[in-house]
């Protein structure tokens, strides 16, 4: 012990004084400030979008032609006739979303369970990149896929007199394919996050692979899967190109998926592509729709956070 102590003492700087006072660290402050600005940037962007949407929507509702109640309950949207009821647009959005989720949810969950519980390394190495390609295809390509492949196929199956050229079923089905990779990859992450020890515990009781997957792993991952579903729904509601191309160009309050109907996003695209003067009520109306969309996705986001927290409490 002695020699070591002496060496340390000899190595210590001479005349070292005790100073416990704060010293300025400018680089720390600089970096902290920069990081804060990065965070602030995204908040300001969001505020800017809300402001712009709100301003134009205010002009729309402030014009005195349409009340909020009318906007939310009137069953027709015909700007030419000064009829601004969002129900037909909302209905079309909900229909394409429901059809898309009816495809994406079961398929996506099955793919996720297969990949996380069953797939060999080789199968994984093939399926995952293919899914990523599926997720990377531009939505306009999906739109024409719906129009030139899915619609003719639906017409061949159900009859050309039943299925219109533009219809929500075709758009919804293709949107389901678009959302499938999102659901499957998020759900797979959730399934993979389930500890190995839980699976082993189940196997050690004589559980089969299916029992382990469906009755232990999926319930344990339910919060992640629920979040995946909600984000998938958000994505479907906001999806624009596919519905603009394949669902139809004209508001139509119908529950028949084989009829043309315009969704909220599809309508915004069509109106903003047309020649409208900037201060017309038609123009302002699309901001009201935009704000409405914003609120729907906001609520879904809050819901997903709530669901994740809620289920996490149950699981942990």
């Amino acid at each position: 012990m002695k020699p070591l102590n002496r060496t340390l003492l000899e190595l210590a700087p001479k005349g070292r004084q005790l100073n416990l006072f704060r010293k300025p660290r400018w680089n720390e402050a600089l970096i902290q400030g920069f990081l804060f600005l990065c965070g602030l940037f995204s908040i300001l962007t969001t505020l800017g979008i809300v402001y712009e949407l709100g301003k134009e929507a205010w002009l729309f509702f402030g014009s005195g032609q349409v009340s909020l109640v009318e906007f939310l309950t009137y069953p027709r949207w015909q700007p030419q006739a000064d009829e601004f009821g969002i129900l037909p647009l909302l209905n079309a959005t909900l229909m394409t979303t429901t059809i898309a989720m009816a495809i994406a949810l079961p398929l996506g969950l099955c793919v996720a369970i297969y990949l996380s519980e069953y797939a060999s390394l080789r199968a994984r190495n093939i399926i995952k990149p293919v899914l990523e390609i599926l997720a990377g295809i531009p939505t306009i390509v999906y739109g024409y896929f719906a129009l030139t492949f899915m619609t003719p196929m639906l017409r061949a199956i159900f009859g050309a007199d039943v299925v219109e050229i533009y219809n929500t079923a075709s758009a919804g089905l293709v949107m389901g394919i678009l959302i499938l990779p999102l659901i499957s990859s998020m759900s797979e992450d959730a399934l993979n996050a389930v500890p190995r020890s839980l699976r082993e515990g189940a196997y050690a009781l004589g559980a089969t692979r299916l029992e382990v997957a469906v009755r232990i792993v999926v319930p344990a991952a339910i919060s992640g899967i629920a979040a995946a579903i909600i984000i998938g729904v958000s994505r479907a509601i906001g999806e624009t190109m596919i519905v603009a191309i394949a669902a139809g160009a004209g508001p139509n309050l119908t529950l028949n998926p084989f009829k043309a109907a315009e969704t909220m996003t599809g309508h915004i695209v069509r109106i903003s592509g047309g020649d409208l003067s900037y201060d017309s009520i038609d123009y302002n109306s699309i901001f009201a729709i935009g704000l409405f969309l914003f609120f729907i996705t906001l609520i879904l986001n809050i819901l997903s956070q709530y669901v994740v927290r809620r289920f996490r409490e149950v699981v942990e």
Binding site: S197, L198, R199, E200, G201, A204, R215, I216, A220, V314
Partner: protein, 277 residues
């Protein structure tokens, strides 16, 4: 049942020469590989029924691989490969026609870290019974759950909160819940992989007492790092060590008191007296 006197005699494989005890399970020429790495080399090991057998040895000597070979848990690791035989009720559990699911129903396991399912305490027990084809009424199920929890010395602590999550229990309680869960499917053998290493001394003591009580109905094989624990709880001790190629080999096997007081090999003596490991 496997009777020793009928078996080809392998001196190192049996804890006591000439012992006429009932054997619960027996490994013969067992090798466990992970890809090219040999983790367990040529082990012959006979486990006596209704006794506690401890597997001890330094880190990385293949104790856990050996334990997991007894109920085919190793094959959940894709790179794992097992050679040799494990005889259970006169059948080789590695024979091609054997279903590992059925093997695990008869040979249960308790893990190092308590791993209750994220279900209620009640469902933690009931689930294993249901997947094993439990046909009884709700009342019978409730009775069976109570019996299992009592057998695991947990009933009094949880009887008023059976529908709370199993994860709300303390670590020691969770581990006893896992033991209750294993008991509920009525296995012949319970494998325990360092069942108390994540627990405090009092919880450890409870687990050890429980293990002792369970031997009236079950055969227990326990892997442990804790020399005192092996000495306290086990009837027989198998000492594993690594050979020159870092593969696990069975060095010495015998009655626990013999192994600890009068080991045959120098390596065993060095290990149990704390000179290495």
């Amino acid at each position: 049942m496997i009777q020793l006197q009928n078996q080809k005699w392998i001196p190192s494989a049996s804890p006591v020469a000439g012992l006429e005890a009932e054997m619960a399970i027996e490994a013969r020429h067992l090798h466990v590989y992970y890809d090219d790495f040999l983790a367990v080399r040529d082990v012959d090991l006979q486990i006596v029924a209704n006794k506690i057998t401890a597997i001890i040895g330094p880190s990385g000597c293949g104790k856990s691989s050996m334990l997991r070979a007894f109920n085919r848990m190793n094959e959940l690791v894709p790179s794992a490969r097992t050679e040799g035989q494990v005889l259970f009720h006169d059948q080789d559990i590695y024979a091609p026609q054997i279903d590992p699911v059925e093997v695990r129903r008869r040979i249960g396991m308790v893990f190092q870290k308590p791993n209750p399912f994220p279900k209620s305490i009640f469902d933690n027990i009931a689930w294993g019974m249901k997947i094993n084809g439990f046909q009884g009424s709700k009342k019978e199920l409730e009775e069976s759950v109570e019996i299992s929890l009592r057998a695991a010395a947990l009933w009094d602590e949880v009887k008023d909160k059976l529908h709370q999550s199993g994860l709300s229990l303390s670590g020691g309680q969770q581990q006893r819940l896992c033991i209750a869960r294993a008991i509920a499917v009525k296995p012949d053998i319970i494998l325990m992989d360092e069942p108390a290493s994540a627990l405090d001394p009092i919880a450890t003591l409870k687990i050890e007492e429980l293990m002792h009580d369970l031997t009236s109905e079950y055969t227990i094989i326990v892997v442990t790092h804790n020399m005192q624990q092996a000495a306290r709880v086990s009837d027989y001790t198998a000492f594993f060590t690594m050979d020159a190629g870092r593969a696990g080999v069975l060095m010495e096997y015998g009655v626990t008191s013999e192994i600890f007081t009068n080991p045959r090999s120098k390596v065993t003596e060095d290990y149990i007296t704390g000179r290495f490991g």
